[in-house]
Symmetry: C2
């Protein structure tokens, strides 16, 4: 294998063979190819792309570089959900216990906050004692026992992906659809799933601003799933405004618990149940999405979904008391209301500004060394399209200091626009993508 | 300086500011930016290019990373010649002593063989005892004393260029015109020249196959020269066949000495004197190229040029006896003639095949660890366009073993084509490029 020659061929728009990609990725994972050659190759891929076979070879090599969760001996179907990342998106916290409570194994491997978005691991760790760094053996045992584990990617799982992801982050080669697809799917395929539901975020708060790119990403991941015997269904959902009301780690856990108790914001419920219905149909526990909705509502109203969340929290060392009573979360020292300066209609709430605002309050990381304050954030009860009076409370700021309250206030002033009339907003769930094609839902 | 953001901007086709490029290149030279980020940037530059200001900033930063030859106190003009690389190209060996013998300081910093081409340093080292690794102080002293030094790039001179060049070689980012231009010119500007002549090779044996690219490279280097007070004249010369007869290190030195003695192949004389005339006019020692030709012919016929070469060889530890009598070179153990298999016209002699053939005989490197046998190579007396009889000797093979003679024979069989009629060949000197534009000479 002459690495400069492989780089040159990709640079010149040629295809690389599956066995060349395999050899290269494995050699890189083992430290036999230097970072700088892979960095040059990644930039060549940025400009030239990877076709479906190349992408698949890339993912297979990443999978081969590590170990998998072995869940194939479990009697239940195994389904996970993955989101491309948004602001206020706490659907994982709802769906893992809800779907597990209905008899589906949910091996949920999640990430930390990235860019302006929050991460499921950071949110879970706002529960006192909750431990997300399970070993493969621990996760396998817990899933066999209670049907769900919510964990971080360990060093054992797709190490080549960890290494390549870190390199992409440092070399401006993150935004490459086949590399994004291979990275996400390598982790999901390593969970030995029988089905996967993707939440493809759309709009100004998503990582890929163009709908075409999002559909291409969905199709790429569906293709990788099909090649590995894992059917994939993708829903395109709105991220032109934050999802739900709560933004910030503990605030979002509390809101997820509210949904598991039968309450919570309608938009969050709608997106969660739409994704959950796809999970249940993929798991063949429901024959239609309508039937799945009935099952999920029953799991919530009966308390089974909430009980499952308590079980998960207990199993992973967390304090189940906060599940029963979220007021047990340590609140931020300062709370302040944010009120409308004029009468009118809420025209927009910029999710990126809100996401970065949470980070500014200390609720996210500017670099990997920073720790996260779980208590801070925003609860934005106003939604785009609603009519507000002057002085009406639109949001509550949760902050560590008086100075931070002002930081939060200026964030909200910039992020929330009130005007004379409503502006068009994206439909909450707009497209459904499967191996058979794209279906427009709204 | 956020390096991924700089990479991203270049990736997206934006310009980088001079001070950004300076900071980045100097940080890289000092080891404060990792190879992999520069590798990604170089690949982005491959696709997006560098404009003239960016290229200039790149070169300035490389210059700033090291020391220069300080020749500004010398009373004479200081002129060098640089070739983009060819096969059988020994004009440096002729021009350094010839032009120095006429009162021009020639600080000639050269390279080793690269790809299929030979290198001036390897050729010089075929002279027993000749030392090319002079320190800056040694080179300055020698040039002050005898007007010329022929040396390798030291660790002190443009270290950023050495580092970036090695990285480009390993990451398939060599063929980028502004980077080639900045790399060459950084070394030339570090010689504190008052003028520079470029020999831009054209044809199948050159590194850039398209004339347009060669003219672009010439213009880029002229622009860098102008910005640093160093006027540059470029000649485009033929490299669709080897230059002269000799190919191989000692064989080429002997041929250069033959020219300095008033003999040698006509094509080699013509190209050498064309380049030399430009050097003398740039040095303002001749007002016209015709006058320069008269001066050079006189320096050769009077023996002054040859004497200057003896002085250089002595000064750098070499044995001047071989200059007076090149038969003093240790010959290769085996010599064999290569004869025409049919009557006809020599249609072509492929310079790449000849260059790689010399390497196959042991006269060049396949990797940087290999040593070079100075004695081996080819002396090809036949030229494209000449009529040959069956059995007529076309070339002599100089080899280390009988097996290598056969390797040489098969090289020549593939490289030399005899047909029924002559094919068109490139004019020896076809274009002259200056800051004022391109002049077609033939």
């Amino acid at each position: 294998m002459i690495v400069p020659r492989l780089i040159e061929r990709k640079r010149d728009g040629e295809r690389l063979e599956a066995k060349e990609i395999r050899e290269l990725v494995l050699a890189y994972a083992e430290g036999r190819v230097p970072d700088y050659q892979i960095a040059a190759l990644l930039m060549a891929i940025y400009f030239r792309g990877l076709d479906r076979d190349e992408m698949n070879a890339f993912m297979d090599a990443m999978l081969e570089s590590g170990k998998r969760l072995d869940l194939t001996r479990l009697p239940m179907p195994r389904v996970d959900k993955h989101s491309t990342g948004g602001v206020g998106d706490k659907t994982s916290l709802i769906l893992a216990p809800l779907i597990a409570s209905l008899g589906v194994a949910v091996p949920m491997m999640s990430g930390r906050g990235l860019g302006h978005t929050g991460g499921t691991l950071d949110k879970l760790e706002s529960i006192p004692g909750f431990r997300t760094s399970l070993s493969i053996a621990e996760a396998e045992k817990q899933i066999a026992r209670i049907g769900c584990a919510m964990l971080s990617q360990t060093d054992e799982i797709v190490p080549a992906d960890r290494k390549i992801y870190a390199l992409r982050d440092a070399t401006a080669t993150v935004e490459v659809i086949p590399l994004i697809a291979a990275s996400i799917m390598s982790k999901k395929i390593s969970e030995s799933l029988t089905g996967l539901v993707l939440d493809i975020k759309r709009g100004s708060g998503s990582f890929l601003p163009k709908l075409d790119d999002e559909l291409e990403l969905a199709n790429a991941m569906i293709d990788l799933g099909v090649r590995h015997g894992c059917p994939v269904v993708a829903l395109v959902t709105a991220m032109d405004r934050p999802l739900g009301h709560a933004n910030g780690n503990a605030l979002e856990v509390a809101e997820a618990i509210a949904v598991l108790k039968g309450g919570g914001p309608p938009d969050l419920i709608e997106v969660s149940l739409a994704l959950g219905a796809e999970m249940l149909v993929l798991a063949t526990l429901a024959t239609t999405r309508e039937a799945a909705h009935v099952m999920m509502k029953d799991a919530i109203s009966s308390g089974r979904a909430l009980l499952k969340f308590e079980e998960i929290v207990s199993a992973q060392g967390g304090d189940p008391a906060v599940v029963r009573d979220p007021s047990g979360f340590q609140p931020a020292p300062f709370q302040a209301s944010f009120d409308a300066k004029r009468e009118g209609v809420v025209q927009s709430i910029d999710p990126r500004a809100i996401g970065y605002g949470v980070i500014a309050l200390g609720g996210g990381r500017r670099n990997m060394e920073e720790s996260v304050d779980p208590s801070v954030g925003f609860v934005i009860t106003a939604k785009p399209g609603i009519h507000v009076r002057k002085g009406q409370t639109l949001a509550t700021i949760h902050a560590r200091s008086k100075e931070d309250v002002e930081v939060g206030r200026s964030t909200l002033e910039q992020a929330m626009v009130i005007g004379d009339s409503a502006l068009p907003a994206l439909p909450l769930v707009s497209h459904r993508v499967t191996a058979r094609g794209v279906e427009r839902l709204a």
